[in-house]
């Protein structure tokens, strides 16, 4: 049965106690510590009353001092949606657990995020760059600059 945001929120609090819930007008949003992130995702997908089986989109945001991974998940049976976030503080070598074994589409979204942000995903089947060639920088980082190719207006 479709769970509204607040009932969904209680369910999440039972699952991962120290998640923070930033305000979001549309969907339930929660930031999960990356320690137990992978096992929490597995829980989201398999527990019978949640069944988040469709990963809409997976992306990253560069907040200059830390990265924020954003996962939009929804369930095709119950039609409720949740926005999952993981904070990555390490700037030089950003790493996060992969979810490609839970949602197959994440394998390619993660390769794209690696290509454009440089965030490595642990245990990813084949983490190669998708669009750019290997020696190129990571363009979507805020501190990216490339005078030779980019004319900035």
């Amino acid at each position: 049965m479709r769970m509204e945001n607040n009932s969904l929120r209680q369910r999440m609090e039972t699952l991962v106690p120290d998640a923070t819930f930033p305000i979001n007008s549309q969907y339930l949003e929660l930031v999960v510590p990356d320690g137990l992130f992978h096992e929490f995702c597995l829980n989201l997908k398999t527990s019978p009353d949640l069944l988040f089986d469709y990963l809409i989109s997976l992306t990253a945001i560069d907040w200059k001092d830390h990265y924020m991974m954003v996962y939009h998940l929804t369930s095709t049976t119950f039609r409720h949606t949740v926005v999952l976030k993981v904070r990555i503080d390490n700037r030089e070598n950003p790493q996060v657990e992969t979810v490609s074994d839970i949602w197959k589409t994440a394998e390619f979204h993660e390769r794209e995020v690696f290509d454009l942000f440089g965030i490595r995903f642990l245990h990813h089947p084949d983490l190669r760059r998708l669009f750019l060639d290997d020696d190129y920088g990571f363009p979507l980082r805020k501190d990216f600059a490339d005078e030779s190719r980019m004319i900035v207006k």
Binding site: P139, D146, I151, V152
Partner: protein
């Protein structure tokens, strides 16, 4: 476009003037007539201009009327490569190799703002080549984003005129570049 002003506007005068004795020999005329009236394009569409190129090949704006009969899939049988769409740094060597694998005489039409100068992606894009002429020599530029099929037809007509003023047998003078300085013109004469 009426046939009269297609026949002689100022660019054709420029071509005539720059061609030295424009009086082409009959062989030149025959060869140019054959080449200009059957230009086969290569199916090379990277993005949106490709759809307008397909529309130009479709029943309404059918450019088979101008001799551009059929899209050839391989460069070995194509005469003109219509660069329709954005050229990206990863695609530039591919375009270069395709251009080199085309048999002579070969021509290039840069269709759309992206192929002319990078178009809407000129600023702030780290991976767009600003214009196909940085990769291969371009004969005709067709502005527009995407240009209408009629614009592509007009571009092909311009290419046909350009072919008609060539000297394949080389017995005309070398092309005197009108705005080159006097000294090189004298040398050419």
């Amino acid at each position: 476009m009426e046939y009269e002003d297609f026949k002689d506007n100022e660019t054709l005068e420029l071509l005539k003037k720059s061609g030295g004795n424009i009086l082409l020999s009959t062989i030149d005329n025959i060869i140019n007539w054959g080449r200009s009236n059957s230009i086969w394009p290569l199916t090379f569409a990277t993005s949106c201009c490709g759809i307008e190129m397909m529309a130009a090949g479709a029943p309404r704006h059918d450019f088979a009327r101008f001799g551009v009969e059929v899209y050839r899939a391989s460069p070995r049988q194509a005469d003109v490569i219509v660069v329709a769409g954005t050229i990206v740094h990863k695609m530039a060597p591919v375009l270069k190799r395709l251009y080199e694998q085309m048999p002579d005489p070969k021509y290039v039409i840069a269709m759309g703002a992206c192929a002319i100068s990078g178009g809407p992606f000129y600023y702030n894009s780290y991976s767009v080549v600003r214009g196909a002429d940085q990769v291969i020599p371009v004969d005709v530029y067709i502005p527009g984003c995407p240009p209408r099929p009629e614009a592509l037809l007009y571009g092909i007509m311009q290419l046909q005129r350009k072919i008609k003023s060539e000297h394949p047998m080389g017995n005309g003078k070398d092309q005197i570049d009108p705005d080159a300085d006097a000294e090189t013109q004298a040398k050419n004469k």
